[in-house]
């Protein structure tokens, strides 16, 4: 047996058992993107410039979308970009601009409870990683077969096996929406009955409008 063919047989054997020591290109890419995403997330929470934090959040969420793509979940990846990068971050930036986020570092951008935050973050990450690893211990995605994360497959499993959680979630979101409307109307009712004689303070009024 020539060395080349020996190497070939070991490679196929490793691919057959999915050895951790001979990763495929996709796995390496997944790992690299994961490291980059983690780095962007770290910068998001440590940077002292508010708008930079929002933009690093874009990089983080985009990196997550790439991870979904590498896991063949195409639909989820695009929805991630559409909802989080396209809407949530735009809303964040809108809020930051409305409050005139300064260019350069904001000295009060640091919170006093960073250790508590770190503890909670590590605990949450630990719980999630433990659950996912426990659930999908030896599951491998078959890349050569039909895509397991296409829109059709996702839709079918969502509306066939997961309808109840899906509907429960939508009711939850509806509740949040109604709650937000109620709160904003309450704030409006508070601001309108100002006595005619007393001038309103511009600063406080602007703050309330920002909160709405």
């Amino acid at each position: 047996m020539t060395p080349a063919s020996a190497a070939l047989t070991t490679a196929t054997a490793a691919a057959g058992t999915h050895g951790f020591l001979s990763p495929t290109g996709v796995e390496i890419a997944f790992l690299l993107v994961g490291i980059a995403t983690f780095g962007a997330a770290l910068v998001t929470v440590t940077t002292k410039q508010l708008v930079h934090a929002a933009l690093w959040l874009v990089a983080t969420l985009g990196g997550l979308a790439v991870e979904y793509l590498l896991l063949t979940a195409e639909f989820i990846a695009w929805v991630q970009v559409l909802i989080y990068v396209g809407s949530v971050v735009v809303l964040l930036l809108f809020g930051l601009m409305l409050t005139k986020a300064p260019i350069g570092p904001s000295p009060d951008a640091d919170s006093g409870n960073r250790w508590a935050a770190l503890t909670v973050a590590v605990a949450a990450a630990g719980a999630l990683v433990w659950v996912v690893v426990d659930a999908f211990r030896t599951t491998w995605i078959d890349l050569s077969g039909p895509a397991s994360g296409s829109t059709k497959v996702t839709g079918a499993s969502l509306f066939r096996y997961w309808v109840l959680p899906f509907e429960a979630l939508s009711v939850l979101l509806l509740t949040a929406l109604v709650g937000a409307i109620v709160l904003s109307r309450k704030a409006k009712a508070d601001t309108t009955p100002t006595p005619a004689g007393t001038p309103t303070v511009p600063g406080s009024r602007r703050e309330k409008e920002g909160a709405r």
């Binding site: 933009l55 929805v79 970009v81 990068v85 396209g86 601009m97 409305l98 260019i103 296409s150 829109t151």
Partner: protein
Amino acid sequence: MNGALDVALRLLAVFVVFLTFPLIVGQTEHKVMAHMQGRLGPMYAGGFHGWAQLIADGVKFAQKEDVVPTGADRRIFQLAPAVALLPYLLVLLVIPIGPSEGAVGQAVDAGIFFVLAVMGVGVLGSLMAGWASANKFSLLGGLRTAAQLLAYELPMLLAAASVAMAAGTVSLPGITAAFEWWWLPWQIIGALVFFVAGLAELQRPPFDMPVADSEIIFGAYTEYTGLRFALFLLAEYAGIIVLCGLTTVLFLGGWHGPWGAVGLGWLWTLVKTALLAFVVIWLRVTYPRLREDQLQKLSWTVLVPLALVQIALTGIVKVMIS
């Protein structure tokens, strides 16, 4: 090797379209606007009816000094034009122009979602530019951009969802393939909502409140000069191509038409796209700019309800015919 060559050729074709079509639309805009206003437009550059005017403009932009204001956030300021422009290049990749397999840069399974998601990212460029310029007019422009995007993203998504429901697929080639002529009256409300919301997302007149030149100079792009400014302009015209191409593919049947299936489909797509681009220019010449409150009102009280009506209509007809 053959596969790699194929991919390279497709990417090259899309890139050439991306570089030339916006220029053609720009030159058409010069000429059409001029004739609608009773003048001639550019006549000298290049000799024949000023056809090289935009090339001359490009040379001029490239020669100008690239200024970054002292107070600006340097890196974000310089990055913003690229963030505004690149999404449109990505969207062009997935728009099918003909019925065959090879008539699309890259077929994407969830095409509609890809297109809308990536177009939303382009607006981040304007927001970055508005904030990083350290200029109050730029900041106002950025704020208006964000408010406009938040208002018009929803009706656009709903209209696109309606046509996806009708076709039973979210892939762009799939939707065009499923098109029948009677979809035109059936989806006409959705088509109008989609086109109007798309115009607003591109900040084209009459929805150009974020760059209103008589109020806030040029909005988020006030501080930009030279090539970076040219990139923002290019993004606007590439956006027109993308919006018109998408409306064609989703609502006007793309390559469908006489002899469309036997090889002339790409011509139909181009003709429909060009007609829509003409409408975009026409609207710019004819309509005055909407005020900020009118703009928000139009979206929330007209377009969103209309889009919901269209979705209901689509659902009812879909259930009846199946």
